[in-house]
C-alpha cells in the first residue's frame, strides 16, 4: 500500500479573546490508499480542525496553520495556491459533515447540488451530469431517485440527506473521503445503514476514509487504524484491533470502557472531568487532571508520542511501566 | 467569562462605557439638548425678529456668526429656538409610539389565538398607509400644532414596535420562569407587565432610541413642507422657508440640516451602543 495522505507535525493556531491558542499541536498521521483511519476523541480535541486543515478550510481569521506539512500523493498542500486547493477539494479529497440537516443548501434542489459538484471538476455536459447525479442517488440507496433528485433538502429525511451528501462527495471519485461524525445527528437504525453504505462505497470506489468520531463502538465496526486525539494532540495510534484489545493510554482505556455492551449500557458512563480549555493548558500532560495514574512528573512534562512497536502512545505512566 | 457576579444591567453599563462611538453620541446629544435649553442664556438673539440685512454670509459679522436668512433673521438664534420643539415632538412621538406598540405587541404575543390575529391584522393595516402622507393628512385635517404633529407621528410609527414586542413576547412566554409564574397562579396582567415586559426591555429600549430618531426626522419633514405650526420655529421649518433661495445662499438651509443630522446621528450612535451593550455576543465580533 502507498501513503496517499501524510500529515506531519501539523500545528493550527486560533486567535481567541484569551489570546492565541494552539488548537492542534504536532499532529502527525498518515493515510494509506483504500484504508479507513479512525480519528477519535471527545468534542473540542482537534479532530474536526485536522479535517478542515486537510481540506484547506481552516477559517482564517481567526485560525491559521502554525507549522507542519500536509502532503497529498507527495504534493505539499500547506503552501499550495488557493486555486490548486480548490481543484483538489471535491475532486480528490471530499468531505461529509456532521449535520445533514444543515449541510445542504436549502434553496437548491438535490440534483443541482450534485451536478454542481460533478461539473466543477469534470469536463461533462449538463445533461450527462444530471443522469450521473440520478445514478449516484440510486447507488446511495435513495428510492425513486429520479423524482427525489428534484426535491429540495427540506423534503428529505436526515438519513436521506446524509445519503445525498455521500453521493455528492463521491461524485468525482475522490481518493480521500473525510467523514466528520457522519451519523451523530441521526437515529440509531439509520446510523448503521449509513456506515454500511460507507463501507460499500469504500469497496466499490477504492476510496480511503478518515472517519472522525467520538464513539469507540463505531471504530470497532469501521476502522483499520486508529489515532486517538486529546487537547489538540495525538496521544495513541495503532491498528484498530490493537487499540481496542490492548489500549495503552489511560484516556483510550476510558473511551473503550464507554462502549456499550449487551449487559451494560456503558454509554451512560463517562470519563470523569472535562477537557481543559486550550488557553489553560499547562506545561504537563493535558490529561493529567482526569488521570488516575498521574504523578508529579506528569504535571511537569508533556509526553511525546513514543512508538512501542506498531503501537504509539504519549503517556509517561506507560513509559515508566507504572501502568 | 467574567467570574464576578454582576447584574446584566451593570454589565451592559460597563460595556457601554467602553464603547467610544456610543459615548460620543451621548455627549453630542447632551450638548444639543443643553444648547436648546440654555442657549438663550449665553446667546441673546431673537429667532423671529428681523435683525439685519438678508443673506448675510456666515463668519463675516461677529453678531451673527452663522449669518442671516432670506428675511434677515439670525440663524444661530433660529437654531437655538428651533431645537426645543423638534426634540420635544420627537420625544413625545416616540413615547406614544412605544406605548401603543408595546400594548398591541404584548397583548398579541401573550394571548395568541384570535387576539393575536385581530391585533396583527390591525397592525398590518397601519403598515399599508405611507406613514408621512398619513401623518400629513392628520395634521391638516386637525389643527397644525406641536401636539397634533406628535400624535400623528405616534399614530403612524407604532406597527414596527408592535411587531418587535410581539416577537419578544412569543419567545419569552415559553421560558420556564413564565411557566412557573403561571403555575403559582399569577394573574395574566401581572405576568405581562411585571414578568415578561422587564425581560423584553433591552431590545425595546434600543427600538425606543431609534424611534426618537425617526420621529425627529418625521417632524423635520412635516415642518419642512410647511405643514407644522407656522408660528413655532423648528429646524425643518427653517429649511423649508429658505428653500426658494438656496441658489443665492446655501447657509440658511445647511446649518439647520446639519443640526437635524447631528441629533439623529447621535441618537442612533446611542441606540447602537445600547444594543451592543445588551448583546455581548455581537460585541465580540
Amino acid at each position: 500500500m502507498s501513503r496517499i495522505l501524510e500529515i506531519d507535525d501539523l500545528a493550527v493556531d486560533f486567535d481567541t479573546r484569551f489570546g492565541r491558542v494552539r488548537a492542534l499541536d504536532g499532529v502527525s498521521v498518515g493515510l494509506e490508499a483504500g484504508e479507513t483511519l479512525g480519528l477519535v476523541g471527545e468534542s473540542g480535541c482537534g479532530k474536526s480542525i485536522t479535517a478542515l486543515a486537510v481540506m484547506g478550510l481552516v477559517p482564517t481569521p481567526p485560525g491559521r496553520i502554525g507549522a507542519g506539512s500536509i502532503r497529498f500523493c507527495g504534493e505539499e498542500l500547506i503552501k499550495a495556491p488557493k486555486s490548486r486547493l480548490r481543484n483538489l477539494r471535491g475532486a480528490e479529497i471530499a468531505m461529509i459533515f456532521q449535520e445533514p440537516m444543515s449541510s445542504l443548501n436549502p434553496v437548491f434542489t438535490v440534483e443541482d447540488q450534485i451536478v454542481e459538484a460533478i461539473m466543477l471538476h469534470r469536463p461533462i455536459e449538463y445533461d450527462a451530469a444530471r443522469r450521473e447525479a440520478v445514478a449516484l442517488l440510486e447507488r446511495v440507496g435513495i428510492p425513486e431517485a429520479a423524482q427525489r433528485a428534484r426535491d429540495y433538502p427540506h423534503q428529505l429525511s436526515g438519513g436521506m440527506r446524509q445519503r445525498v451528501m455521500i453521493a455528492m462527495a463521491v461524485s468525482c471519485r475522490p481518493r480521500v473521503l473525510i467523514a466528520d461524525e457522519p451519523t451523530t445527528a441521526l437515529d440509531v437504525t439509520v446510523q448503521a445503514q449509513i456506515f454500511d453504505l460507507l463501507g460499500e462505497i469504500q469497496h466499490e470506489f477504492g476510496v480511503a476514509i478518515i472517519l472522525i468520531t467520538h464513539d469507540m463502538g463505531v471504530i470497532s465496526e469501521m476502522a483499520d487504524r486508529v489515532a486517538v486525539m486529546y487537547a489538540g494532540r495525538i496521544i495513541e495510534e495503532a491498528g484498530a484491533d490493537d487499540v481496542l484489545d490492548h489500549p495503552q493510554h489511560p484516556y483510550t482505556r476510558g473511551l473503550i470502557a464507554c462502549i456499550p455492551t449487551l449487559e451494560d449500557d456503558a454509554s451512560l458512563r463517562e470519563i470523569p472531568g472535562v477537557v481543559p480549555p486550550l488557553h489553560a493548558l499547562g506545561r504537563g500532560c493535558a490529561f493529567a487532571d482526569r488521570c488516575a495514574y498521574m504523578d508529579a512528573r506528569c504535571r511537569r512534562e508533556r509526553p511525546a508520542l513514543a512508538p512501542t512497536g506498531h503501537h504509539a502512545n504519549a503517556c509517561l505512566a506507560v513509559a515508566e511501566g507504572r501502568l | 467569562m467574567d467570574e464576578s457576579a454582576q447584574s446584566p444591567a451593570a454589565e451592559a453599563w460597563i460595556a457601554f462605557c467602553h464603547n467610544i462611538p456610543a459615548l460620543a453620541g451621548l455627549l453630542i446629544l447632551l450638548g444639543i439638548v443643553a444648547l436648546t435649553l440654555y442657549g438663550t442664556l449665553f446667546y441673546a438673539g431673537d429667532a423671529y425678529e428681523i435683525v439685519w440685512a438678508p443673506h448675510e454670509k456666515p463668519l463675516t459679522e461677529s453678531d451673527f456668526p452663522l449669518g442671516t436668512d432670506y428675511l434677515g433673521r439670525d440663524i444661530v438664534a433660529g437654531l437655538i429656538a428651533g431645537g426645543g420643539p423638534t426634540l420635544a415632538v420627537g420625544l413625545c412621538a416616540a413615547l406614544l409610539t412605544m406605548v401603543i406598540g408595546i400594548a398591541f405587541g404584548a397583548l398579541a404575543g401573550y394571548y395568541g389565538g384570535w387576539v393575536d390575529i385581530v391585533l396583527m391584522r390591525i397592525t398590518e393595516f397601519f403598515q399599508v398607509l405611507p406613514a408621512l402622507l398619513f401623518a400629513m393628512v392628520l395634521v391638516t385635517l386637525f389643527s397644525p400644532s406641536l401636539v397634533t404633529i406628535a400624535i400623528a407621528i405616534g399614530v403612524v410609527s407604532w406597527p414596527q414596535t408592535a411587531r418587535l414586542t410581539r416577537a419578544e413576547f412569543l419567545k419569552i412566554k415559553e421560558l420556564e420562569y413564565v411557566t412557573a409564574a403561571r403555575a403559582i397562579g399569577t394573574r395574566d396582567r401581572r405576568i405581562i407587565w411585571k414578568v415578561i415586559l422587564p425581560n423584553a426591555a433591552p431590545p425595546l429600549i434600543v427600538s425606543a432610541t431609534l424611534t426618537v430618531g425617526v420621529a425627529i426626522l418625521f417632524e423635520a419633514g412635516i415642518s419642512f413642507l410647511g405643514l407644522g405650526d407656522p408660528n413655532t420655529m423648528s429646524w425643518g421649518l427653517m429649511i423649508g422657508m429658505n428653500r426658494e433661495y438656496i441658489l443665492d445662499a446655501w447657509w440658511p438651509v445647511t446649518f439647520p440640516g446639519l443640526a437635524i443630522f447631528l441629533t439623529v446621528f447621535s441618537v442612533s450612535l446611542l441606540g447602537d451602543g445600547i444594543n451592543d451593550a445588551f448583546n455581548p455576543r455581537l460585541r465580540e465580533r
Binding site: V107, L120, M168 | L133
Partner: protein
C-alpha cells in the same frame, strides 16, 4: 405555488383597501367643522351652491351608515369626486401622476438594493476590514440625514458647482416634441438626482442588513459544503450565500415600500418631480381634501400591491415555503 394562497392574499388586499376607505370616511367625520366644508376644503372657495351639491352627493343629511355605503360605492368605482383646486376629477389627476411616482420609487428601490447588497456582500467578506467599517458608518449616517436636506444639498452642488444633471422637473421643455428614445433618455437624466437622493437612506439600510445577513449565512454548514466541493469564492459568495441571504433582504424591501412612498413625497417636492407626492403636497396646502384622500388611497393601494408581489417573490425564492397555504 398554490392558487388558494394567492386568492387568500388577494382577498386580504381588497379588505385592506376597504379599510383604508372606511378610515378616509372616518377622518372626514372626525375632523372638526362641517363635513361638507371639510370635503370642499377651506381654500376651495366653496359657495353655498357648491356645499349644497356636496351635501347631496355625499348624502350628508342621511344616516351615517348610508353615507358610508354611498362613499364605499363611490370608491369601488374609483370615483374620488372633484378636486376643487384643480377643478378636475381626482382620479384623472392621480392617473396623470402615478406613473412618475412609480418610476421614481422603483428606480430608487432597485438602485438602493443593488448598491446596498454589493456593499454589504463586500463588507461581509471581511467582517473586521475597512469595507465593513465603512458600511457601518455609512449606514448610520444614511439613516440620520433628512432626505429632503440631501436633495437640497445635491441641488446646490449640481446647480452651481457641477451642472451635469438637471435639478428640477422630469422633462426638458425643448425636448417635449422629440422622439421616444430621446425623451426616455431625457427623463432618465432628470431621474438621476431624485432617485439617488431617495435611494441613499435605503441603500445604507440594505448595506447594513445584507452585511449582517451574509455574515450569518457564511457561517452556515452548507457554505462549508460548497467550499468542500471546490466551488470558487465568487460562486460561494454570490450563488450559495447570496441566494439565502437575499431572503431577509426581500422581506425588508417589501416592508420599505410604504416608507419609500413617504420619502418620495419629500423628494418630489424638493425636485419638482410631477408625481403623486407633489400632488399631495399641493393639495394639502390648498386643503383640497378629495384629492388628499384619493392620493392616500392610491398610495396605500401601491403598498398593498408591492406587499403582495414581495410575498409571492419570497415564496418563489424560498422553496421551503412553496406549496404552503
Amino acid at each position: 405555488m398554490s392558487g388558494s394562497y394567492l386568492i387568500k392574499r388577494l382577498l386580504w388586499g381588497v379588505l385592506l383597501m376597504a379599510g383604508v376607505v372606511v378610515l378616509n370616511f372616518l377622518l372626514i367625520r372626525l375632523a372638526p367643522g362641517d363635513a361638507a366644508l371639510v370635503i370642499a376644503g377651506e381654500m376651495g372657495g366653496a359657495s353655498e351652491e357648491m356645499l349644497a351639491s356636496i351635501r347631496k352627493e355625499y348624502g350628508l343629511d342621511r344616516p351615517l351608515m348610508v353615507q358610508l355605503g354611498l362613499y364605499l360605492a363611490d370608491m369601488a368605482r374609483l370615483d374620488f369626486g372633484q378636486s376643487f383646486y384643480f377643478n378636475q376629477p381626482v382620479t384623472g389627476l392621480i392617473a396623470q401622476r402615478v406613473g412618475a411616482t412609480i418610476l421614481l420609487v422603483i428606480v430608487a428601490q432597485l438602485l438602493a438594493i443593488f448598491i446596498g447588497v454589493v456593499l454589504g456582500v463586500l463588507a461581509a467578506r471581511n467582517p473586521g476590514g475597512p469595507m465593513s467599517a465603512f458600511v457601518s458608518v455609512f449606514a448610520t449616517i444614511g439613516y440620520a440625514v433628512p432626505v429632503f436636506w440631501t436633495g437640497i444639498m445635491l441641488i446646490i452642488l449640481f446647480a452651481s458647482v457641477l451642472p451635469i444633471f438637471p435639478v428640477e422637473g422630469m422633462q426638458s421643455v425643448k425636448l417635449r416634441e422629440a422622439g421616444i428614445i430621446v425623451k426616455s433618455l431625457d427623463i432618465l437624466h432628470h431621474l438621476v438626482l431624485p432617485a439617488f437622493t431617495l435611494a441613499v437612506i435605503y441603500l445604507a439600510q440594505y448595506a447594513r442588513l445584507s452585511r449582517a445577513s451574509m455574515l450569518e449565512v457564511l457561517g452556515s454548514d452548507y457554505i462549508r459544503t460548497a467550499r468542500a466541493k471546490g466551488a470558487s469564492e465568487a460562486s460561494v459568495l454570490f450563488k450559495h450565500a447570496l441566494r439565502n441571504a437575499a431572503l431577509p433582504i426581500l422581506t425588508v424591501a417589501g416592508l420599505q415600500f410604504g416608507n419609500l412612498i413617504s420619502g418620495a413625497l419629500l423628494v418630489e417636492t424638493v425636485f419638482n418631480w410631477p408625481g403623486m407626492g407633489r400632488l399631495a403636497f399641493d393639495s394639502i396646502l390648498r386643503r383640497d381634501h378629495p384629492t388628499i384622500l384619493g392620493v392616500l388611497f392610491f398610495s396605500a393601494a401601491m403598498v398593498v400591491v408591492a406587499n403582495l408581489l414581495t410575498d409571492l417573490a419570497y415564496r418563489f425564492a424560498d422553496p421551503r415555503l412553496r406549496g404552503r397555504t
